[in-house]
Every structure is written in structure tokens, then in C-alpha cells.
């Protein structure tokens, strides 16, 4: 894992002092409220519905036990004893007091963490595949690239006042677990015909009120030219992105209005200019980054403890069945710890749960932890024969929910319970869905299902790319939930189709039940997933299930 250099340490400390000074200068009137706002946002501090919210970066989702324990202590000391893991590999604290924020930032700096550029019109926390460094299907670990981009984008003098926020995601596998196609820049590690490493570069993806799938702007970019090229994209965007309307200010709109071919030519022209002055990144630095992420020394021995437990414990079997993923080393597994207990708040973890996760990681998991954009925690390196012991610790903390990838593994934004922008509740809807399908006992029969819920049009809950997407709006003072079908967040990314009229909160759960029943009836075998069935059959049979009254009228 990457450890802070002396410069990182110097930088984050200086930044905390700078922010402390900015808070003071806001209070003495040197800074107007308008001037202070982007400064606090660039330090992760939002003003929410009921309180301030502090969004802390977990760069590319990678952290360790010491950092997790510090997050737990922050939750206990300055918040209400819990934190909320988000869809961008951040953790949010919902109840800090403004006066405590500099002290919290100091506590973060103590463990090589920060809240820098987790908000505001700048390059945000760089995200990556949460199985990075562990997945059997990996081509290249995306984290050295992500860390390079983190450093390069941090306090970049040219790109702190962009037209709008800017998100970068990196994937190192043919399987896309980082939603790269829904980011301003998506990078996929590939090799050219000669075997040299590089990236496929996508731009202009994004969700929000105008959802778009990213387009390929460069089929192959040599690894050594990454920063010059990314800088060129950002420069073109900074100079030409729209600033007249914040809803049309993201890169995706510039791509859409300019056309990808023309914009690509502008970027290439900027890149050609830029390269004249670009001497590359110090190769020693690149090597140091790569070696910072070299895999731990795996213990390849087997005792058979895993199989013995599987045989005698159906609870463990169910968990192993859904929550484990193939590790590159056959004696190991990648374990997903679900933060979606039935009826719970997706993404929330209590301080004690965080400590339990830290203990497992430290004792059994080569001290590595990941936060996923799906709002779960990943223990990327657990030896198979240590899984029974890890499971017991999880179970003692209520973290053993065996539902990864199932209908109750829901992404949901904070919604009206916390967020100042929300137009509807998200968390209670997620809770109801998970309770309902758990009560029906058909979760496993349904199989792979991604439900994603956003409480407003800004789409923080990624509803456009959910197999079933739910968007909460407000119609004449009443919550109204629109359903989209067939969305996909992976390498075969697609935006869901809007099914039809929205549902009230009361109508929504029965409608989803009809939808799922229709899928179970229509699928060609129990192996055909909801998404596959939807792609094969098209929207009509599913719409008919959602809106039975329409069918009756037509008959």
C-alpha cells in the first residue's frame, strides 16, 4: 500500500492550517459567504439539510486497519458513532460541528488521509476497481495510475475552478467494476500490439440529469504520456466547457454539443502543444508508485478449514456462495462485507463495525481494506482457510449479511433523510425493498440484481445504471418514484429505459414485486439473470407487469 511521503505529510498539514485560517477569515468578514463556499467544498465540507457533512476521501478505495480505526474514532468523538460509505469511495460524516472540522482534518492527517477535493468544481477523488490487486481477471493494478492522478490533480493550479466537478475512474481489468463509462474520464489499462502498457481513454460519461455513456477519445495512450494527455483534456474543458448554466457545465455536455470527433481533434492539438514542454514523469517516481502497490506475500498453504466449515454450516455456505470472489491466488478469496443488512441503511457502518473490520484486516487480511462504489467493504486478501474465523468476527458485529449482488444489495443515496438537494426519501425505500424480498424468501432464486436508488435527479444513487433504477421525485408535494429498466454499470454499460409513469411510495413495493415475479416467470432458465432476460425480451413484458391496468384497458 502507498504510504505518505514527507511531502504528502507536509502538504496535508499545510492544508489543514490553511483551512483553519479560512474559517477564521470567513468569521471576521475577510471572505464573503460566496468566496468561502468553494474553499470549504474543496476541503470536503458541505452544508446539508440538518448539519454540516464532511466527505473524506478514500483514494481509489484502498485503506488499512489503522485508517479504519481512526475513522471509527472520528465517528465516536465528533459524530454520532457511525459513518456512511458512498458511491465514490468516500466516507461521509453527517453530524460534525464546523468548529471541530479542522481538528477532524488533523486526525485524518495523522493517518495519511484527507478530505481534499471531495467536492467543488475540481478533480474529485480518483476511483478505481475495488478488487484492484486481488482479482484473478486483472490485467494491471489500476492503483499506481490512480495514485499518480491523485497527486497530479491535488491542488493543480490550473484546475481548481473548473466549470463543474470532474471525476476520473481507473480500471485494470476487462471486467469494469469502476463504472468507468459514467465518469468524465474513464481509463482502462490495456497493452498495444507490441505489448507496451497504456490506456484506452473514454470521456464524457456521467449520470445526473443528463445521463451519458462515455465515448472512446483515444484507443491507445502510452502509459508515459498519461499526465500530458489528461492535462490536455482538462485544459480544453476548462477553456471551453459551459459556464452559463451549471446543469450544462459537465464535460459530457461539451462532448455532446461539440461532437466527439471534433473535440478529440481539439484535445489532440492541445496535446501536441503540451508535449513540447512535457519531459515526462520521473521514472523513479513511477517505479516507486508501482512497488508501493506490489502484492503482499501470500501464504499458499491449505488446511481444509474452509471446506469443513462449508460442509457443516449453511449460514457460512450461503455467505461464501454470494460474498466471495475469485482471487488471483487460489488459496485466497476476495470477501465482500455487505453494508446492506436487511432493513438497514445502505453504506452505513458503526464505529464498532469499523473496528471489527480493521481487526480482521490486520489479523487475517494482509492489512488491506477496500471501500467499493457499491457501498460495501471489501477484504481483498483473505486466505480461504481463514474465512471461517473472519466470518465469525463479522457475524459477531452484524456484518455477515449474505447478499452481495442480490436484490437487497442496494445502492441508495442519502436522500431526504440527509441531503439538501433531495426531492424524495431513498434510504427508507431501500429498507422496505430489502425487508420485503427477504420476507418473501426469494432473494437467491432471483439471483443477480442491481437495484439503485436516487432521491433526486442528480443521480448520486446511480439509478440510470441499475438493472432496476428508482428515481425519487416530488410531484405536487408528494413523493413519486420513477422506474428505469435494463441499466448496466459494467463493461457493457447501458442507461436504463424509463418504464412509464411513476409510483407513490405505497405503490412502489408491490410494483417491484410484480416486476420480479414477471422476470421469474419469463426467464428461460434459472441461470438467465434479470438483465439478460430484459435484453432478450425487451421492455414490454416488464412494463406490462408494472402497469397491469394498461394491459386490461387494451384488452
Amino acid at each position: 500500500m502507498y504510504k505518505y511521503s514527507e511531502f504528502d505529510e507536509f502538504f496535508v498539514r499545510r492544508r489543514v492550517e490553511e483551512f483553519r485560517d479560512q474559517v477564521r477569515r470567513r468569521l471576521d468578514g475577510s471572505l464573503t459567504e460566496d468566496e468561502f463556499k468553494p474553499l470549504r467544498l474543496k476541503n470536503g465540507l458541505y452544508l446539508q439539510l440538518h448539519a454540516y457533512m464532511l466527505r473524506v476521501a478514500i483514494p481509489y478505495g484502498t485503506f488499512d486497519s489503522r485508517q479504519m480505526r481512526q475513522l471509527a474514532d472520528i465517528a465516536d468523538k465528533w459524530d454520532k458513532g457511525y459513518g456512511h460509505f458512498t458511491t465514490r469511495q468516500n466516507i461521509q460524516f453527517n453530524w460534525p460541528k464546523l468548529a471541530d472540522v479542522p481538528a477532524i482534518l488533523d486526525a485524518l492527517a495523522d493517518v495519511d488521509m484527507h478530505a481534499i477535493q471531495t467536492s467543488g468544481n475540481c478533480i474529485r477523488n480518483v476511483t478505481a476497481d475495488h478488487f484492484a490487486g486481488a482479482a484473478a481477471d486483472e490485467i494491471a493494478d489500476p492503483r499506481p495510475t490512480a495514485e499518480l492522478l491523485r497527486q497530479w490533480s491535488t491542488d493543480h493550479p490550473e484546475f481548481q475552478y473548473l466549470p463543474r466537478k470532474f471525476k476520473i475512474a481507473v480500471s485494470g481489468s476487462s471486467r469494469d467494476r469502476a463504472v468507468t463509462k459514467a465518469h468524465d474520464i474513464g481509463l482502462r489499462s490495456i497493452r498495444d500490439a507490441g505489448g507496451s502498457p497504456g490506456y484506452e481513454v473514454l470521456i464524457g460519461g456521467g449520470l445526473g440529469r443528463t445521463p451519458m455513456i462515455g465515448a472512446v477519445v483515444r484507443e491507445f495512450l502510452p502509459e508515459s504520456e498519461l499526465l500530458a494527455y489528461v492535462e490536455s483534456i482538462l485544459r480544453v474543458y476548462n477553456l471551453h466547457g459551459r459556464r452559463d448554466n451549471k446543469y450544462k457545465a459537465r464535460l459530457k455536455i461539451l462532448v455532446h454539443e461539440t461532437g466527439i470527433e471534433k473535440l478529440s481533434r481539439e484535445i489532440e492539438a492541445e496535446f501536441a502543444e503540451r508535449k513540447k514542454w512535457f519531459a515526462g514523469v520521473d521514472p523513479e517516481l513511477i517505479e516507486a508508485l508501482k512497488s508501493a502497490f506490489k502484492p503482499p506475500e501470500f501464504n499458499l498453504s491449505r488446511t481444509g478449514a474452509f471446506e469443513r466449515r462449508l460442509e457443516k454450516d449453511s449460514g457460512f455456505r450461503a455467505w461464501a456462495d454470494t460474498n466471495l470472489f475469485e482471487h488471483r491466488c487460489s488459496a485466497y478469496s476476495i470477501a465482500t462485507v455487505s453494508l446492506k443488512p436487511i432493513g438497514g441503511t445502505p453504506g452505513d457502518a458503526s464505529a464498532n463495525q469499523m473496528r471489527a473490520l480493521a481487526d480482521i484486516a490486520e489479523r487475517l487480511g494482509h492489512d488491506e481494506i477496500r471501500a467499493s462504489h457499491e457501498q460495501n467493504i471489501i477484504l481483498p486478501h483473505i486466505r480461504k482457510d481463514d474465512l471461517p474465523e473472519a466470518y465469525d468476527v463479522l457475524a459477531a458485529s452484524g456484518l455477515q449479511t449474505a447478499n452481495f449482488g442480490l436484490v437487497s444489495d442496494i445502492i441508495a443515496c442519502p436522500g431526504m433523510d440527509y441531503c439538501a438537494l433531495a426531492t424524495a426519501r431513498s434510504i427508507p425505500i431501500a429498507q422496505e425493498i430489502s425487508r420485503r424480498f427477504a420476507a418473501l424468501g426469494i432473494e437467491r432464486e432471483i439471483g443477480s440484481m442491481k437495484i439503485k436508488i436516487s432521491g433526486c435527479i442528480n443521480a448520486c444513487g446511480h439509478h440510470h445504471v441499475g438493472h432496476i433504477g428508482i428515481l425519487g421525485l416530488e410531484r405536487a408535494g408528494v413523493e413519486n418514484y420513477q422506474i428505469t429498466l435494463g441499466g448496466d454499470a459494467t463493461e457493457t454499460a447501458a442507461l436504463g429505459d424509463r418504464a412509464g409513469r411513476g409510483f407513490s411510495a405505497d405503490e412502489l413495493i408491490p410494483a417491484l414485486e410484480r416486476l420480479v415475479e414477471a422476470y421469474l416467470r419469463l426467464r428461460d432458465s434459472c441461470r438467465e439473470t434479470f438483465l439478460e432476460a430484459y435484453r432478450r425480451l425487451g421492455p414490454e413484458p416488464f412494463r406490462a407487469a408494472l402497469y397491469p391496468e394498461t394491459g386490461k384497458l387494451a384488452a
Binding site: 468544481n121 490550473e158 475552478y161 476548462n238 515526462g280 517516481l285
Partner: protein, 146 residues
């Protein structure tokens, strides 16, 4: 009266009395040390042939949230412009280091801002030379600096 902010602190405008002219006027001028005013959406390639006879460029920031000026400054430096580069308009003290690191030499602010954000807010702790990620990563870079 405008106040000019430099690393040393506040000072008077030593270009006072000189008028900054637009690009069109610059093209027909025979002055060998022009001072020109550029909007933050200027077409820079068109400026290339003029650069040798430009002594000072002023770039306006219509409001502090509009960061186009930072990219214009960087591009001018990449084009080889080594003359004086001034930011003017709504630039706040918290942006001083960003402006310097993007290639600006100085910032022109009005009296109201100079009173609200006095000199010490611009220079104290704004040790913009003390190191940045960009300098560390790209330290062998050849771009002209002043």
C-alpha cells in the same frame, strides 16, 4: 486606484498611465513594448506573431469562480511568452498561489478587495514556492518561468 499584489506585498501600479490595448489595436501598433488586455476566452494562436513585441499582458477574471484565466496563463507560458503577466478583476487572496503557479507575475485588485483582504492575507503563509505535487511530478519540465 488599483493595488498590485506581488510576492513582496502590495504596491502601486508602475504601469499606471499606460493603457492596456486590445488585440486588434495591438496588431496595427508600432510600439515595441505593448501592454495588451486579453479576455479569458482569447484566441491565443492568433496572438503568436505578436508575442515578441508584447511587454505586458493583463487577463481579466470576471469572477473568482471562473478559472479560465489560469489556463490562458499556462498556455501563454507554453507558447514562449516571457513578458509580464497580470491577473485582474475578482481574484481572491486564496488564489494567489494558484495564479503564481499558473504563470502570472502579479494580480491587480481594487481598493475594496484590498481593504477586505489586506496585504498579510496575500503574502502570509502563501509560500507558493514551497513545493507542489505538480513540481514534484514534472520537475524536469522545461516551461519558461520568471
Amino acid at each position: 486606484m488599483a493595488v498590485i499584489v506581488r510576492d513582496q506585498g502590495f504596491s502601486k501600479d508602475d504601469l499606471d498611465g499606460r493603457s492596456f490595448i486590445g488585440m486588434e489595436d495591438a496588431e496595427i501598433s508600432e510600439d515595441l513594448s505593448l501592454a495588451i488586455e486579453l479576455p479569458n476566452h482569447a484566441d491565443l494562436p492568433a496572438l503568436k506573431t505578436l508575442l515578441p513585441k508584447i511587454g505586458a499582458i493583463r487577463i481579466n477574471f470576471p469572477n473568482f469562480g471562473d478559472g479560465r484565466g489560469f489556463s490562458i496563463a499556462t498556455k501563454l507560458r507554453h507558447m514562449g511568452y516571457a513578458g509580464r503577466l497580470r491577473a485582474s478583476g475578482h481574484v481572491i487572496a486564496d488564489q494567489y498561489a494558484l495564479a503564481r503557479r499558473s504563470g502570472f507575475d502579479e494580480i491587480e485588485i481594487d481598493d475594496e478587495l484590498a481593504a477586505r483582504q489586506p496585504e498579510n492575507q496575500w503574502i502570509s503563509g502563501k509560500d507558493w514556492k514551497s513545493g507542489s505535487y505538480q513540481d514534484r511530478l514534472l520537475k524536469t519540465e522545461l516551461a519558461p518561468t520568471r
